[in-house]
Amino acid sequence: MDKKFVYADNAATTKPSPKAIDAMLPFLYEEYGNPSSVYSLGMRAAKAILKARENVAAAIGARPQEIYFTSGGSEADNQALRSAALSGEKKGKRHIVTTAFEHHAVLRTCEYLQRRGFDVTYVKPDSRGLISPCDIEAALRDDTCLVSVMYANNEIGTIQPIEEIAGICKARGVLFHTDAVQAVGHIDIDVKKQGIDMLSLSGHKIFAPKGVGVLYAKSGTDISPLIFGGSQERGKRAGTENVAAIAALGAVIGDAVSGVSERTQRVRAMRDRLIDGILSSIPDTRLNGDRERRLDGNVNIAIDGIEGESLLLMLDMAGICASSGSACESASLDPSHVLKSIGLDEKRAKGSLRLTINELNSDEDIDYILEKLPEIVSRLRALR
């Protein structure tokens, strides 16, 4: 087969859709007004943000007043955790429950809060990459001010029992946050039905550009700003809005959350063919994370006897974009904390491959990966 280009790293970022780009362009050309200005040029920009706010709210079952635009998922996670901590502190509650395999945006914020005197319990997932609601419940204390559990894991794609955990938190009167960056567009989310108090999402994982994200916070949640200044986002996020990116997110989020079950069914079929193909054609490989409760496009395989970094470079030479761990991890020298949390040793964690596909991938892409990957793995194994 001739060399192809196959993008299989959609958990890192997605290709902005034509719809997103079309929605951005007016605000990069003619509609350059500042949304805070009183004249009509500014008002049109403000209106675009309002429209986007409505669309985002509708996509997750929230009200527009509960949507705060941020620079991305990491900022939303930071703000959710720090708001809950500041609010809890006022009532003498300085304990947070989260999991050991959260995104670093959550983990590093927790570490910061620990240095500021907070107590954090990191609940461990089981070997399948699933968090037990009982373990969350057992970790709750009278002084717990927040529970934060990701909706779906960014590396192994496992989907957590969010509704159940939210129910437990509600019964105990504890605020519940979920990092849904990987879940939006792949799982039906309704914050009201599912009892979610705060949720983070990111634009560039759902075909919008980088640089825009959302913090949803239920009305009445005590939100404090990370960035001080003007009164944008009702005083909770200062700084002139990223109008073009917000407009793009507003334009695409509706499509991203509609028809989830039909769309994911097709992707899931490709994913399963990829998983089965790899496991059957390459010896000493195993799937990381539960097979059933898993995002439709996530494949994460431990391949014994290879280094992830060499594998990625070789895949790149074959035109295949993939990752080992998450994109955010590649600058770090440590093996993935996610894979370690589900019990992989350091060697196996470093020899793991993540392929994340979506509806833009084709059956030919899967064939191509299944042709190239075994060749590359045997070449790398021969070096040992």
Partner: protein, 357 residues
Amino acid sequence: MDNKKVLVAMSGGVDSSAAVKLLQSKGYECAGATMRLYSNEDIGLDKTKSCCSLDDTTDAKLAALKLGVEHYVFNFSDEFREFVIDHFISSYLDGKTPNPCIECNKHLKFGKFLQRARLLGFEYIATGHYVIKEYDEARGRWLLKRSPDAKKDQSYVLYNMTQDELAHTLFPCGELTKERIREVALQNGLVNANKPDSQDICFIPDGDYAGFIEDNAGAQPKGDTILTDGTKLGEHSGLIHYTVGQRRGVGVSYSEPLFVISKDVQKNTLILGTKDKLYSDSLTAKNCNFIMLDELKEPYRCKAQTRYHQTAADCTISPLSDGRVLCEFDEPHRAVSRGQAVVFYDGDYVVGGGEIE
């Protein structure tokens, strides 16, 4: 046509940046790569401080951008930990004086890095080392020759190179002096032309070897300091604090100047002696590698260097069993230290070398 693709090991410093420019001017197709070898946490620095290893990567990336070449970052921290840092610590604890640059060159630069480069389809790697590679038709071997810049010559740390490694490695800085390399960098606007040369051991930026080892292996026990005749002179504060040949800071006063002659790890004893005791007539070396010869079969007249920066001394080397070598000096040689490399030269050419036993 020749495959002229070269992957240049770029540290972010002057030499490797200039190396890219020099290779480009000779028609090579270059890309750069930087090895990430440790994080601040690995070397005991606070992880919230800016990471020097990461900063170096940025320098290399900026240089690559300026030079218009692709740039990769390879994470070799596991191998660096295993082959260099751990080896350094255990050798020190064993009373030796290790040279981690030699281990890094052997296992990382000409091991992992070369392997990676080949995987990526590069025929050659290049480094900024000051050394010359020549092909000797008569012997049918690649030779390694000292740099004309005697102060910068790095042939000592490269004695382990195999013929295969030499065949696939280029040293574009080797023919030039450091001043000339700086000029090349400046003329091409390479940001780091005035960046100071890296010093000593990269993973111990403050130069406190003993502190680094104690951080990793715990405090070391005190013991007796004795004279070569067995007389007790006092107490030492842990053997790792001393190196063979050291005169200052040995903590005893005596009628004559005293030097560290050796360290008895078994008895945890530091042995001091007068200057004459520092000299050896011979040494043996293990794990030897030969560049000029396929193997050492008979006694060979050459010069030996037992430290990085030292005038080579006349000697005769002869083969022993198991790839070991006996080196007999014409004149007694000062401060031969276990664990250091001895490198043999024939004129300016590296004959080979090994680890002093």
